[in-house]
């Protein structure tokens, strides 16, 4: 504020009137899918703490309106709260990856949590209920954002369904044969027996007594442990493989084989971020760079990265340059750029290659080695700055003008 007196109106203007209209809550900022995921995470933590709080109280009374309606064992309600919190925490990871299935399951689990809270309804349950009340509408309004399918390989589907099948087979079978087992009296007993057997724990408190029952147990052990092992292998190994790959910023071979009509971005430099913003929604992009740190951060953001030298032809053929729809060359060094353009042209004579020249004097050299289009970002930036100061227009509108000029 300057010390020169000005008329009172502009001064008060600054005090009471902002440039934009002032809202009570800037909904746009707080109503996105990200907030929904964060809130669900918050509910998970709150469920955990509330469950622990209920557990820690020696004798919980059930004051809720549903307490009479649900005939449950008090102890059961007490520890389910904590248990559900773990499930919810797992679902938050799914939500973070925008999985559709996680969204459906979250709704179901939140409904369950609400039921439990309405059964106990301690003072400590009220914050939980209120936060669910806020989270649910947000999840509903953002349901479009959670649209990714769970992608399971056929092996994974097969092993998962065979586990379900074996558990069903074992449970129903052992219940039917309960006379031939020691101590199987209820459905819980037979499920317990099957799980203990499949997990190769085998306490031995329930044992088969007849030959038929023994053969039955052997079948459960063989198929069950088999399915269990294969399922763990098929579910966990790809996850570990992906972790490892992420650490090195390299795409797995299986991911690379899926690529088609993608755009290769060779090298990582200052303009790569804006480039990715522009391309991300339109086509699949694969960034090829030697910079392991950048590769790892890009990979965390679900951008495909191949950590290898973009000037080698083998690398480019790994990145499926034959099926690529275009190549953008933009490393930090023009010499490397030239090598990358050469390698790309050699690997695929038809593909469209666009290169960014760090130095405007190198533009013609790029064209000579095979680039279809050469752009000098510095030159464009400089010209925009010049126009902006002369025409007093915003950079955005100048950008549109630039488009028109070039047409």
């Amino acid at each position: 504020m300057s010390d020169t007196p000005d008329s009172s109106e502009p001064a008060l203007e600054r005090l009471f009137y902002h440039s934009e209209r002032i809202r009570l809550v800037y909904w746009d900022e707080f109503s996105g899918a990200k907030t929904a995921v964060l809130l669900t995470g918050f509910v998970a933590v709150l469920t955990f703490v509330t469950g622990l709080s209920n557990l820690s109280q020696p004798n919980v009374t059930y004051d809720g309106p549903l307490a009479a309606a649900i005939p449950v064992d008090p102890g059961f309600v007490q520890f389910t709260g904590v248990l559900i919190a773990f499930v919810l925490a797992g679902l938050v990871f799914g939500l973070q990856r925008r999985k559709r299935l996680a969204w459906y399951l979250t709704l179901a689990v939140l409904a369950l949590v609400t039921l439990l809270a309405l059964t106990t309804l301690q003072t400590t349950d009220v914050p939980l209920l209120l936060s669910i009340l806020v989270t649910l509408p947000l999840l509903f309004t953002n349901r479009g954002a959670f649209d990714r399918r769970i992608e399971l390989s056929s092996l994974q589907i097969a092993s998962l369904s065979s586990i379900v099948g074996v558990v069903l087979y074992g449970t129903i079978g052992s219940y039917a044969l309960q006379d031939q087992f020691s101590e199987i009296d209820t459905w819980s007993d037979s499920l317990y027996y099957v799980v203990v057997t499949i997990a190769t724990v085998g306490y031995g408190d329930i044992t088969p007594l007849t030959t038929g029952a023994k053969w039955f147990s052997v079948s459960v052990i063989l198929f069950g442990t088999g399915a269990f092992t294969v399922a763990i292998g098929s579910l966990v190994v790809p996850a570990i493989e992906k972790r490892m790959a992420a650490a090195f910023g390299t795409m797995t071979l299986s991911e690379l084989t899926l690529l088609d009509d993608h755009v290769l971005v060779l090298g990582y430099s200052d303009i790569t971020e804006s480039l990715l913003d522009e391309l991300a929604d339109q086509v699949d992009v694969v960034v090829v760079t030697l910079d392991a740190d950048e590769a790892s951060t890009l990979n965390d953001r679900d951008v495909n990265v191949l950590t290898d030298d973009p000037t080698h032809e083998e690398t480019l053929s790994d990145a499926k340059i034959d099926d690529a729809s275009g190549v953008v060359v933009a490393t930090r060094d023009d010499a490397n750029d030239v090598l990358a353009v050469l390698a790309a042209r050699k690997s695929n004579p038809e593909v469209r290659i666009v290169a960014a020249a760090n130095d405007r004097q190198h533009v013609d050299k790029f064209e000579e080695v095979g680039a279809d289009e050469v752009i000098s970002p510095m030159e464009i930036g400089g010209r925009l700055l010049g126009r902006s100061i002369l025409e007093e227009a915003s950079a955005e509108s100048l950008f549109e003008n630039l488009d028109e000029d070039s047409d």
Partner: protein
């Protein structure tokens, strides 16, 4: 600086507040969920301090968060760095003083200093004199308050339906600078302080014990209960809020239609003209406004501090004494100073939003657990009784033009108190109202706010009355045991309901936040009034006035002069009633001359009907 962006000091403050809030918050969450565990290790006193630190630092942190748009532009503020280098301490002080209006800045500072000096030297004398004067004014001058209040109500109602409601402040093309929710929230939370929280469960009980003479009911009878609830509505409903409209609408009209400066004295425009708003009369009005505001807010802060801790002492048997009150007031001052200096669009807006959310949450939860049929039945009866009796109740003074003791102590005292708050609340209403039609202003500041207040009083009042009548809890005995402290009333009431712990948490939070939202606005308004007309108040001036109000509140606590200062604030309500009268006469005259040819709601409806009839005829 603070108004424009984020100063370096604020960034440091944020770095300090965030860990403080998180750490104390963790303790609070632990204590809430695992009371046994925490109860063993932490004493009640420390527990309360930590909770208050959590809430206060949370509010302050919210206030200093950067606004959505101004973080980037303030990252490098070379002007600020230059200024720091250029000015030494004397330079800063001189620069600060040069922006202050010598009269409206100097006189209040000197007067309050003298007042406390006098308190220390001749305490008993001043108390007796001021008390007697206030009593005389409310008893013999009661008719004036009643007349002006009635006039303000009639004026508000006429603006609502009459032709002048269509005037759009700032011209037909003006766009409102605030969306409607934020407009309502900021004005509602600024216009009412922690009194609403304390008196919600208490006011009806007091009238139940000593029924108002107008209803002539047996104390503690069924009739007294109905009368009590009606009077609670009467004291806090439409009448009270109309005082703010009577100050706010004239200021807004002259500021936006005539280009007058945004000050309280602007209401004299029709008599002096826009050019002569520097005259002695204007200085007097502005001075009076500052006295009324600081007196009203500072005593409120001091009383809230005392009552808050009395409630704590009643419920959890943790005594604090004066030192506790002083610390509480200091903490509260910190919160509202940070909020006020961060600007209308940051701290004041955000804390108001927190306030409204907590208020709404409390009402909804309370309605869920309260005896609903009783609440609905006695509320509808009270509303009916209020509608029928409001005007006769206003006119009933007791002995002709002289108010009887009950009316003087409750109704007239209450009107005077609202009038003394009117300058600051009215000015704030005017400041927010650019681009709104006068009808919208009245609908917000008169109808919506009064309805929100009345819902609160009906809900809590009828519940506490019901509990008292059915002898479920003896709230009155609890209040009497603590020397008539209204803050005590809430706790036994909540204890009789489900999820009582949560209500007590919310209740205490509401007290703090309602006080903060009024005090930050009043700080801003006083800073505007004390700054020279050509300047906007600087961050320094806002901080100065905030701390000044906090200091007055602390001095009130230390010298034990809350009643005296409150009586004096009520006394400023007297001249303000006169100012309101003058303002209304002036504005009606101006409207009559300049705003002809507008249609009232009835007129618009008639024209519309006639046009439709014509269309029908044609077909």
């Amino acid at each position: 600086m603070g108004l424009q962006g984020v100063s370096p000091a604020e960034r440091v403050l944020r770095k300090l507040l965030a860990p403080l809030c998180v750490l104390s918050g963790a303790v609070v969450v632990l204590g809430f969920f695992f009371p046994e565990l925490v109860g063993e290790t932490i004493s009640g006193r420390i527990w309360l301090v930590i909770s208050l630190v959590f809430f206060g630092s949370g509010l302050a942190y919210l206030a200093v968060l950067p606004a959505e748009s101004d973080e980037s532009m303030s990252e490098l503020d070379p002007e600020f760095l230059l200024r720091v280098r250029r000015l030494g301490l004397t330079g800063t002080v001189r620069g600060f003083l040069s922006r202050q209006d010598p009269v409206t800045f100097g006189v209040p500072v000197a007067a309050f200093a003298l007042f406390f000096l006098g308190q220390l030297l001749v305490p008993s004398g001043t108390i007796a004199t001021v008390g007697a004067t206030q009593r005389a004014v409310t008893t013999y001058g009661g008719w004036l308050f009643v007349a002006v209040m009635l006039l303000a109500v009639v004026f508000s109602l006429y603006l609502l339906v009459g032709p002048w409601g269509t005037v759009k402040l700032g011209g037909p093309d003006a766009e409102p600078a605030y969306t409607y929710p934020v407009y309502f929230t900021m004005f509602f939370t600024a216009g009412i302080a922690a009194g609403i929280v304390f008196w919600g469960p208490a006011e009806a009980l007091f009238h139940y014990e000593t029924p108002p003479p107008y209803f002539d009911a047996e104390p503690q009878s069924e009739a007294a209960a109905g009368a009590a609830l009606t009077y609670a509505l009467f004291h806090w409903g439409f009448w009270a809020w109309s005082a703010y409209i009577a100050v706010g609408v004239p200021i807004a009209y002259y500021v936006y239609q005539r280009g007058a400066p945004l000050r309280v004295s602007t209401i004299l425009t029709p008599f002096l003209g826009v050019e002569n708003l520097d005259s002695v009369w204007c200085r007097i009005v502005d001075l009076l406004a500052i006295f009324a505001t600081i007196g009203g807010i500072a005593t409120s802060i001091a009383l809230v501090g005392e009552q808050f801790l009395t409630g704590i002492q009643f419920q959890w048997d943790v005594a604090f004494g004066t030192v506790g009150s002083v610390l509480f007031v200091a903490g509260l001052t910190f919160v509202f100073v940070v909020s006020a200096q961060s600007g209308v669009h940051r701290g004041i807006r955000r804390i108001a939003a927190v306030n409204l959310v907590l208020f709404g949450l409390f009402v909804v939860l309370f309605f869920a657990v309260a005896p609903r049929t009783v609440v609905v039945e006695s509320s509808s009866r009270a509303i009916g009784s209020y509608a029928v009796n409001a005007v006769p109740m206003t006119l009933h003074l007791g002995n002709g033009l002289v108010a009887d003791p009950w009316v003087a102590d409750w109704t007239i005292w209450n009107w005077a108190w609202w009038f003394s708050w009117a300058p600051f609340a009215g000015l704030f209403l005017a400041a927010l109202s650019r681009g709104r039609r006068i009808r919208t202003v009245v609908l917000t500041g008169f109808v919506a706010t009064a309805l929100a207040t009345m819902v609160w009083f009906l809900l809590l009042g009828s519940t506490s009355l019901h509990l008292q009548q059915t002898s479920a809890v003896d709230v009155l005995a609890a209040i009497d045991a603590y020397g008539g402290a209204e803050a005590v009333a809430g706790f036994p009431v909540f204890e009789a309901l489900a999820i009582s712990q949560l209500f007590m948490f919310l209740f205490l939070a509401l007290i703090v936040v309602f006080m903060a939202t009024s005090a930050d606005t009043s700080t801003l308004v006083v800073a505007v009034l004390a700054t020279r007309r050509e300047f906007a108040p600087t961050t320094g001036a806002i901080i100065f006035w905030g701390i000044f109000q906090g200091l007055v509140a602390i001095s009130v606590l230390v010298t034990g002069s809350a009643e005296v200062l409150q009586a004096m604030a009520v006394l400023t309500g007297g001249p303000f009633a006169l100012v309101v009268l003058i303002a209304l006469v002036g504005l009606v005259g101006t409207f009559y001359r300049h705003e002809r040819g507008r249609r009232s709601i009835v007129g618009t409806a008639r024209v519309k009907l006639a046009r439709e009839a014509e269309d029908d005829d044609r077909e």
